[in-house]
């Protein structure tokens, strides 16, 4: 029997679908296919693309490297203030990225509470550098890895880890050989989501790292700048971003929520 869906639901769902699909369709319709190549090179598309890939992949790698242990501790170790730390660590998702950027400036800018020491002692300034772009991007994207990993760990039966310990596995070995493989799907989905978010990051990057072609101007920043000078090129560049993200999300095939 065909399931009969309530009409109000259909209407609302229809609005939802149209809402999301419409801007993307408009992009495709308005692309200046004819002058595509000059438009792309004019706005430094290849540089921006390369930089975007560099920054997003680096940010993802760092997010996984420090996010997974952090998620493990949040999921498995009870300590006072854990709930608070968990909320703080996930905050960047909810925060407007520009606010994140401002916070990073206050912390790591040349006169920031830690940045000042970096500059005075080592002459290191993180703002206006690619490293700065990576830092800003990691800040907003890492919570996604943490959420996915913690979710995976919480749903894990910890009897396997206990069995592994009783059979001779040190905590590190158990984590490596038993725990992480068991949350593999969730980890992968988290990493991919993180990468997708990193790719689209704008507000924190431009606020903290600035905007300079070849050094900090990732694709989203290039699109923003192009839209005043060269709207057609901006549309084209936006499509590049859309397709990149689309490929990744389709490859995930619905595993975005972490369900294996």
């Amino acid at each position: 029997m065909r399931r009969r869906l309530p009409l109000p639901f259909l209407v609302l769902a229809g609005i939802g679908a149209a809402f999301v699909v419409l801007p993307l369709v408009a992009l495709v319709v308005r692309v200046p296919w004819g002058s595509a190549r000059e438009a792309l090179s004019g706005i430094g598309a290849s540089t921006a693309l390369r930089l975007s890939l560099e920054v997003s992949l680096a940010a993802t790698a760092i997010s996984v490297l420090i996010g997974v242990p952090l998620a493990w501790i949040l999921a498995r170790v009870a300590f006072p203030g854990r709930a608070l730390l968990r909320a703080l660590v996930v905050l960047p998702i909810v925060l407007p990225p520009v606010v994140g950027g401002i916070g990073l400036l206050q912390a790591l800018g040349r006169r920031g509470i830690v940045g000042r020491w970096l500059y005075d002692a080592f002459g290191i300034q993180l703002t206006f550098t690619t490293a700065g772009a990576i830092i800003a991007t990691t800040f907003v994207a890492m919570p996604l890895v943490i959420l996915a990993t913690e979710g995976g760990l919480r749903g894990l039966d910890d009897r396997y880890e206990r069995a592994a310990a009783a059979l001779g596995g040190s905590p590190w070995y158990v984590m490596r050989r038993v725990t992480l493989p068991m949350i593999g799907p969730q980890l992968a989905a988290g990493a991919v989501l993180t990468w997708a978010r990193a790719l689209g990051e704008f507000g924190a990057t431009i606020t903290f790292a600035g905007n300079l072609a070849g050094r900090t101007q990732t694709l989203p920043l290039a699109v923003y700048q192009a839209r005043e000078l060269d709207p057609g090129g901006a549309v084209l560049l936006s499509l590049v971003l859309v397709f990149l993200s689309l490929i990744v999300l389709i490859a995930l095939r619905g595993r975005v929520t972490g369900a294996a």
């Binding site: 259909l10 149209a18 703002t127 905007n211």
Partner: protein, 261 residues
Amino acid sequence: MKKAIGVVSLALLLMTAACSNNSSTSSAGSTSTINVFAAASLTDAFTKIGDDYQAANAGTKVIFNFGSSTDLATSIGSEGTADVFASASGAAMDTVQSAPGVSDRQNFATNSLVIITPPDNPANIQSIKDLGNPGVKLVLAADSVPVGDYAREALKNAGVSNAAMKNVVSNETDDAATVAKVTSGDADAAIVYTSDVAAATGNQVHSVPIEDQYQVIATYPIAVVTGGANATGASSFVAYVMGSAGQTTLRTFGFGPPPTS
């Protein structure tokens, strides 16, 4: 399947209907609204002018939309909800003049450029020529933004364009963002409007004037946008800005008088 298409079409129709409702605002009410699109550099000055105007004209509401002049020009062309446009560049006003058109266009203020550095002036900038010194972290607005365009012109005037452009570490989206990079201490120097240095940020930056021969004067035009909902209100507002009250306020915020021509 047919049902699904029907539903989506219905949804789209509903959405478009809801959106188009906006343009025909109820000017037949007791409150009249004036939509003013103004350059970001005018934010502080025009907010004050708006308050004063509303106080002087009870029952009127002035709604501002601040942004980069080029951005605003684009959206005026495609949207059509602006009554007044106050631009930081003639080029942006030209855009609006061609589509959808303007009336009552006049220059209402000028702005000049100034170099700002963090209070301790870490790169020891004494003049515009110092901006070409190696290793100076210079921040400008992007060249698509009027103040960024003017800044590059000034650098060219001073003959340090090549060296200075090598020092540029960031192209900001507008003058406010440019100032922010200096107040946070991360940039060694930036070129912004004189009006940006007034009042609020005055203590957080150190100003270095630009010699007259290199200076670039930005002329700010204002006009009534054709096709806006409140033409009468628009003209009235423009007149206020041109009048002594408006001009005094502009002066307080660091703007110069319009060129006499």
